[in-house]
């Protein structure tokens, strides 16, 4: 195994001053291995452990949290950390090499930390949540695999390892969504997620192959360098490769129209949803787009409008769906899809930092919201908001943290969501996508509206469910408070124009990387735009509260009255699931008929014609050539063969020693021939 360390472009830009990070970087691979090791250990020994393997999973995650925190702190300094290590595993052929390794730069450090921090909170929470459930050991094993695969993905210095992590994430999500597979719908949801992802993965794999062949390398730094230098080799295929990679990202990051799996993925236990929506699964697509950002920025610019279009549809259209959902997790799921649309739009529009910043803040408040929802579900034993209501008196901790998360998601000043959403809006404005920007503002309104609805229906009014709801145990509420802190404060790190002492800013963190990304950063707050975004959020909250608050009239009637056309459309999720099935059906019937017609008339005709022709020819041949010429030869041959066989078969007596004797005699003959004749 050879080891190669990336020194490429280290002399350029911000990377020039970067340190290697010492042993923390040189052994950062441990973070990638740790959860994988935990997976193996839990699978092998988990059942015999005191906490059925949870302690191992949490231990591995805590280790990762500590390690990545150190890396984050190192990266906060003026210089930042830049390190890369690749171990050559095998040559693939054609000059391509299969390598495994890890990369430590601003982007991956941020992802390490987000995965570890959110993962740790979720794992601890899950330990409480899963108490008494079935297959807890397997659950934690798969959870470790999930987080580990995501770390392999984000730590990858090349596209191949990324695919490995990518598929690992897909596998783990399949296992976890279908955790309660006794219910048919759960296993169906798992398969839906898997299939949808596989469809997208085809695009990713083809894209990677194209890049690998044209570039002669799978390394991200080579890709970035080629893009930065406007490589002639990569140029012609850049748009195709970029769109294929984006297609893969659409699947993982649930962009329209491949988002259909994500809301159904709610079938998994709630901690899985929290992890999936916040850190480990859906962010993979955004991460891929960010990692390959130079490709889109420099070469595949033609792909960007399509990406923006997909992102914009996702961010607004899918947000609307959250308005009518009754399942609280479904509301949050659609909000995730919508927020992913924000991120994708931002990255596609050139807002590298903006998109990732939103990913960063979103991870915390979305994990917080999901865990809160899980806590509520744990208490009332139902996913439906129509079975909830008035829970703020019963579950004060959950209520407070959920409201914090909701406000952050809605983008209320000064919570984290406000800052990241504002940065996206500013970037869209700077890049000149004004229409998109105003759609995004409208999206913010929708976001605030449905979050207000969710909070009102869940925590206010009268309790409509069964039994007596109770607050969750501390092991579940403490992670909620732990996540509430960054949900409030995470925005501070990237206020435009503000550079905090010691901490620096998010932009600076991300600026440490092997290749400069060359995206734009606002140097000051655009007060007007911020005010517009804030106004949309406040308006959404106010309207939502008016419509669904405790003083509002009966909610169900209003839904139908208020938006006559939209409501059924939204209820049926724009008929997209039907469309997907219909698409298959529509393609299948005519295609089959067409193939049948071609078979009956074209191919059969050709075959019959050729057949008839051959028949006639054969008649000629049979009479003349075959009967007399060939048969004579064949008969003669067979007669000769049989005669020879009669002679030779006497030699094949079945007596070993006779064989041996002939063998020695033959060898002798051969020796004599070689020695004396030749």
């Amino acid at each position: 195994m050879g080891v190669s360390t990336n020194l490429y472009l280290a002399a350029e830009g911000a990377a020039a001053a970067a340190t290697t990070g010492g042993i923390w970087s040189e052994w950062a691979g441990l973070m990638l291995i740790g959860p994988m090791l935990a997976f193996v250990v839990i699978v092998l020994f988990g059942k015999r452990m005191r906490y059925q393997g949870a302690e191992v999973a949490i231990g591995a995650m805590a280790f990762n949290f500590v390690w990545s925190s150190v890396l984050l702190l190192l990266n906060m300094g003026d210089s930042g950390v830049l390190y890369e290590r690749s171990l050559e595993i095998a040559a693939v052929g054609g000059g391509l090499v299969f390598e495994l390794g890890w990369i430590v730069d601003g982007l991956s450090i941020m992802m390490y930390w987000v995965v570890a921090a959110v993962g740790l909170a979720v794992f601890v929470y899950a330990h409480g949540y899963m108490k008494g459930e079935v297959r807890v050991t397997f659950f934690f094993a798969a959870l470790s695999l999930f987080a580990g695969s995501m770390l392999v993905l984000v730590g990858s210095p090349n596209l191949v390892q990324l695919i490995i992590g990518w598929e690992g994430v897909g596998l783990a999500s399949y296992l976890l969504i279908g955790h309660n597979w006794e219910l048919k719908e759960n296993s169906s949801a798992a398969m839906k997620a898997f299939y949808t992802n596989k469809v997208a993965d085809v695009g990713l794999v083809i894209g990677v192959i194209i890049i690998g062949i044209t570039l002669g390398s799978f390394h991200f730094w080579d890709l970035a360098a080629a893009a930065a230098e406007h490589s002639a080799a990569l140029g012609p295929v850049a748009v195709a490769a970029g769109l294929l990679l984006f297609f893969g990202a659409m699947g993982k990051s649930a962009q329209f129209p491949l988002h259909i799996w994500l809301p159904d993925a709610m079938a998994g236990p709630t901690p899985v949803s929290a992890l999936m929506h916040a850190a480990t699964m859906v962010t993979a697509g955004i991460y891929l787009m960010a990692r390959t950002f130079p490709l889109y920025q420099e070469l595949a610019t033609a792909a960007r409008p399509w990406m923006i279009a997909a992102g914009t549809i996702t961010l607004f259209g899918m947000g609307l769906l959250a308005l009518v959902a009754d399942d609280i997790k479904r509301v949050l799921a659609y909000s995730t899809v919508s927020q992913l649309g924000y991120m994708m739009t931002a990255v596609a529009a050139g807002g590298y930092t903006a998109g990732l910043f939103h990913l960063f803040t979103h991870a915390f408040f979305k994990a917080l919201l999901f865990l809160g929802a899980g806590s509520v579900i744990h208490a009332v034993h139902s996913n439906n908001m129509s079975d909830m209501g008035g829970l703020r008196r019963h579950m004060p901790d959950t209520y407070r943290t959920f409201v914090i998360g909701a406000l952050a998601l809605a983008g209320v000043f000064p919570l984290s969501g406000f800052w990241s959403k504002d940065e996206i809006l500013a970037t869209l404005g700077y890049e000149g996508y004004n229409l998109v920007m105003w759609i995004a503002v409208a999206g913010a309104f929708v976001t605030a509206f449905y979050m207000a609805r969710a909070v009102a229906l869940t925590f206010f009014g009268e309790y409509r469910g069964h039994g007596e709801p109770h607050e969750s145990p501390p092991i579940m509420t403490r992670p909620l408070w732990a996540l509430a802190v960054p949900a409030v404060l995470a925005g501070v790190v990237n206020i435009p124009g503000l550079k905090l002492p010691w901490i620096g800013s998010f932009t600076d963190w991300l600026s440490v990387r092997s290749v400069p990304m060359g995206d734009h950063h606002a140097e000051a707050i655009d007060v007007g735009l911020a005010a517009a975004g804030l106004a949309a959020a406040v308006a959404g909250l106010w309207l939502g509260w008016r419509a669904f608050g405790p003083s509002a009239a009966d909610r169900a009637d209003r839904d139908r009255v208020e938006i006559p056309v939209l409501y059924p459309l939204l209820r049926q999720k724009y008929y997209l699931d039907h469309a997907a099935l219909g698409l298959v059906w529509v393609i299948r019937q005519p295609a089959a008929r067409a193939v049948n017609w071609v078979n009956d008339y074209v191919i059969d005709g050709v075959v019959n014609g050729v057949g008839a022709l051959c028949q006639r020819l054969a008649g000629l041949l049979y009479g003349g050539v075959d009967q007399h010429g060939i048969d004579g030869v064949v008969h003669g041959l067979s007669w000769g063969t049989s005669g020879m066989g009669g002679l030779i078969r006497r030699i094949q007596s079945g007596r070993v020693q006779q064989y041996a004797g002939l063998l020695v005699a033959g060898l002798l003959l051969l020796a004599v021939v070689v020695l004396f004749v030749l």
Binding site: G661, V664, L668, A671, V672, L675
Partner: protein, 184 residues
Amino acid sequence: MGFEDWAAEPLNWVFLAVALATTISGLRVVTSPNVVHAALFLVAALAGTAAIFLLLAAEFLAWVLVLVYIGAVIVLFLFGIMITRAPTGRDEAEVDHQRRLPALLVSAALFALLSWGLLSQWGDTTLDGITAGTPTSVLAEGLLGRFVFPFEVVGFVLLAALVGGITIARRDLSPAEERERESR
């Protein structure tokens, strides 16, 4: 090197005696009508071989030959013979084929060819420098150093032969016998 020189070396007379004994024993191995006698003559032939090894200063190999062949392999042979035929006393069974002449011709021709080749290749090249025996440590270092992989493979082959021999030779008990054995 003339015959006088050759005869002046006492070891050559030892060789001659050993070689004569070995040859006669070998001849009896392939001609003796009695299986047990043949096996016992093989012991003599192998003892002669070991003596030749000693003449060639291959001490270790000589004792390996004695230990493995005479001590184990031949015993195994006799064991096998006695289990399968046990021809105590006179053995009337025909042990040779009727057709001996072709075999004799073939082996004689082989010997002629081999001796011709050896004589024309080596002539009367003398064998010098075997004053001291090969130290066992050299063999050990070779076996466990450069040839450690073949060594392991041979060990594996032996193990496989052991397992295979047991598997082939063991008699599977009939169900009734099995039950009887268990009840005992």
